[in-house]
Symmetry: C2
Subunit: 249 residues, 2 copies
DNA sequence: TTCAGTTAAAGTCGATCTGACCCTAAGTCA
DNA sequence: TGACTTAGGGTCAGATCGACTTTAACTGAA
């Protein structure tokens, strides 16, 4: 035990600043959903409306405290399931945020909170379950990842910055790691996969070059099935056969 | 000072599991030092010998609890200074480790500890200060990053895995980010910079190709000075003029 | 003073990769 | 049947990379 540690238990209000920081887990949950205005899919994430101060009434990332008997990742998985009903296809730690002024509006005192944030990718089929199943559907809703909180006085805490950081991580990781499949179902066409890349990276990709690059990836196997029902030539369906989740960061 | 502290508040065993997890900060501090056997420089890091249970007598990463009034990064910077006398040239968050069984040997109960680990790069001139200045020099010593704890019954806690993860991050980041300069002084020759890359990546690099690649990086500016005193043609000194620390991860 | 040894620094060459573009195949719809 | 649209394959120029060669510049020993 260290001398730096101020006596923690039974502290009164004036000593609150001396309380050890409390730990919370939050998750940024990305899903690809068709946008209303454009036909192309865009990135969405579920947010939870706060029912108490601070930031009462504003939208925030789903999260909660860390229980004593679960690992960090288990905690992220649990509060993701509890708030949204989703089981993540892909889950990874994003960052630990521990600035001094993030738990409250400037000028108001409250206990220091350190948040360990995870980010997750889910499939659109899972993503549909959300609003239907939950009783408090009122207070859980999908928002566009890039504009969430824009016309509403902003998001709670520093959650807007956290989402931007998660977006940056998703974009850079997409370029060297094979994570795009986690947005899709078991089989998919190359055009669907390309739409994932275009939505995440925010720019169009040449279909022919995209195809050529993916053909050099052995983990993407062509099936002998084709997607029928389109207006045009039916595209071949592919399957991802690599490891479900990379261990690296 | 220790990274993780055992059973802290006099709680009895049955209550221990219900205590909120405590927070600690640790740092992996890399420096490039000439190895004794080979002439080439290799990666070293300072470790602290534990003076209490658990893992008494074994080597551990420097670290300590998070004070209530400092940010995570400030805490890392402070305990780095306190244990080694160093001010890091480069400092970045590595990961938050929060597994259930990391604070103790299997079978022994103790309080749950979540460690937020930072990693740092320091210059060799700074690195020399260490052993001289500190009174408890006995319990702080440099170890080779790749073999620390090998013949000594291992490192304390999960610190060997944490170091391996930090090594992996350093290697992958070296390949796309400009961080190698933080190991060197203000000016350096291209051969010195290449030695940094070779030591970190663990493989030789072609001097001519290395030079060609660096010439395309505008942040590396040639000075009009040359390193005299060598046995051969004096190499030109270069300077890094980019931002001191990238904001990205 | 000369020459051997060593490193600095620049250039060459073939293989590979990338982006932009074109062409044909195969389906749907009017 | 023919216009239209997407699938899927190919071409070509420029950039990059690894392996290698060549020349310049300095030191130290003969």
């Amino acid at each position: 035990m260290s001398t730096l540690f101020a006596g923690p238990f039974g502290a009164n209000v004036s000593e609150r600043a001396q309380l050890p920081p409390s730990l919370a887990i939050s998750t940024v949950i990305f899903a690809l959903k068709p946008s209303r205005d454009v036909g192309k899919p865009t990135l969405w994430l579920p947010l939870v409306r706060r029912v108490k101060e601070p930031f009462k009434g504003q939208w925030a990332l789903p999260g909660g405290p860390l229980a004593a008997t679960e690992s960090l990742e288990d905690a992220a998985r649990r509060n993701l399931r509890e708030t949204t009903g989703l089981a993540p296809e892909y889950l990874e730690q994003l960052y630990a945020f521990g600035g001094l002024n993030r738990a409250h509006r400037p000028g108001q005192g409250s206990q220091r909170v350190v948040s360990i944030v995870y980010w997750a990718l889910v499939r659109p089929t899972e993503a549909e379950l959300l609003v239907e199943g939950e009783a408090e559907a009122e207070n859980v809703a999908w928002h566009r990842a890039d504009t969430a909180g824009d016309g509403e006085g902003g998001l709670a805490f520093d959650h807007r910055e956290i989402i931007d950081y998660a977006l940056w991580r998703l974009r850079s990781k997409l370029e060297y790691a094979q994570i795009a499949y986690h947005f899709l179902g078991e089989t998919f066409t190359l055009a669907q996969l390309r739409e994932v890349y275009e939505a995440v990276l925010g720019r169009p990709l040449d279909p022919a070059n995209f195809r050529r690059q993916l053909k050099s990836v052995p983990q993407i196997e062509p099936t002998d099935q084709f997607l029928e029902g389109g207006k045009h030539r039916p595209p071949r369906l592919y399957r991802y056969t690599g490891p479900a989740q990379r261990s690296t960061t």
